[in-house]
Amino acid sequence: MALKPVSPTDEFVKGLWRDNPVFIQVLGMCPALAVSNTAINALAMGAATTFVLVMAGLSVSLLRKFIPKEARIVSYICIIATFVTCVDYIIMALSIELHRALGAFIALIVVNCLILGRSEAFASKNKPGRAMLDGLGMGVGFTFALLFIGIIREVLGSGTLFGVSMFPDGFQTWTIMVLPSGGFLAMAGWLLIVNWLRQKEDNAARRAAEAES
C-alpha cells in the first residue's frame, strides 16, 4: 500500500480540524463535557491532556521496538497512567484552586480513549518526532474543541469570559448551560455546525470531481 509521504506540518494540522478528536472522531467526550463549564477550566484540561498526549506519544514511540505485541495495551496504559500522575502533581503544585476546579477529571485523563487510541494507531508505528507532532496536533485540536464548548457555556451560563463579566448587570444568565445538561446541548450545537460544514465541504468536493469528469 503506497502512501504519499506526510509532511510534519500535516501531522500537526490534521488534529486541528480534519481529524479533530472531539468533533470528528468523537473521542474524549467525557472530559469535553465535564470540565468545560468555564473557559479557563477547558483551557487547563486541554493543556493537561496535550501534555500527556505528547509525552505518552514520545515514550511509546521511543519504546515501540521494545514493547512486545502481546503486552501492548497494558504497557500503553502504564505509560499513560504515569504521565497522568505526573501532571496531577504538577497542577497541584501550580495552583490548588485549579486542581479543585478540575477535580477528579485530571486523573480521568488516563481513560480518555483519545490517548490510548493515538498510542495504538500512531505512536507505536512512527518515529518519536512524528509521534510528538501528532500528539501535539490532537492535543491542540482537543483544547480548541473544549474551548469552544467552554466559552459558550461560560458566556451564556455565567455571563463571564475567563472571569471577566461580558454583559451589563441586567443579563439573566442561562444557568442551564453550566449544568451537565448544558454540556450536552452545547456539544450538540457545535456538532451540528461541524456536520453542516463538513457536508458543505463534501458537496463542494463532489461537484468539483463531477465537473472534472
Binding site: P68, I79, C86, M92
Partner: protein, 235 residues
Amino acid sequence: MTQAPVEQKKTTAWQMYRAIVGIGAFCAILIVGVYMATAPQIKINQERFLASAVSEVLPAAVLTQAVALDNDGQLVVVEENADLPAFLGYDAEGKLVGAVMTSEAMGYQDIVRVLYAYTFENQAITGMKVLETKETPGLGDKVEKEPHFLANFDALDARPAADGSGLANEIVTVKQGEKTEPWQLDGITGATITSVAIGHILNISAQVWVPVLEREARAIPAPQPPAPQEPTEEE
C-alpha cells in the same frame, strides 16, 4: 520505510520480562521523581489556602495552631491537619481569641463543606466560609454571596449549655425574614435546602466543639510567635 516482510517471531519470555521490568522501572522513576519534586510546593500551597481561609473567618487571629479532638473527646494540639481541620486562633499578644472549625454535610446536590469561626468573647459564630460546594450555580451558591444571609454570621449565638453538654440553643435556619432569636439563621427563599443545610452543618459541629473549647481551650499554651524578621522596607 519500506522493508521486505519480516517473519513474525513469537515474543520470547526474556523479551516479555525485559519489557515489563523496563517499563515498570521507567514509570516508577518518573512518578516518584515528580512526586518528590512537587511535594514541597504542594504543601506550601495547601497551607497557604487554609491560612487565608482561616484569616478570612477569624481576622483577629494572628497566630494559629492546629487542634483536634482525640478519641476521648479531649482537645489536643496536632502536628498535621485532620480531615476536618480545626485551629485555635490567638492575637499578637498570644491571647486566645477564637477557634476555627471545619464541618460538612449533605446540601441539595452534594456535600457542602464550610469553615467557621467561634469567638470566645461573645460566645458566637462570627465568620463562615464555604470551602467546597457543588450546589446549583445562581441558586444554591447564594449562600456564599447573599448579603442578608452572610449578615447572619456577624454574631450567631452559640453559647454552650449550662451543663456543658452542647449548645444552649440549637442553631437552626428559619424562613427568610422570620429570624427572631440570635441563634437562628435567616434563610434564603430561593435556596431553602442549601441554607437549611448550612444551619445543620454548623449545628452538628458546634454542638460537639463549643463545650469542649470553652472547657479546655484556654488551658492549651499559646504557640510561640515566629522569630522576629529582619525589618522590611515598609517599616
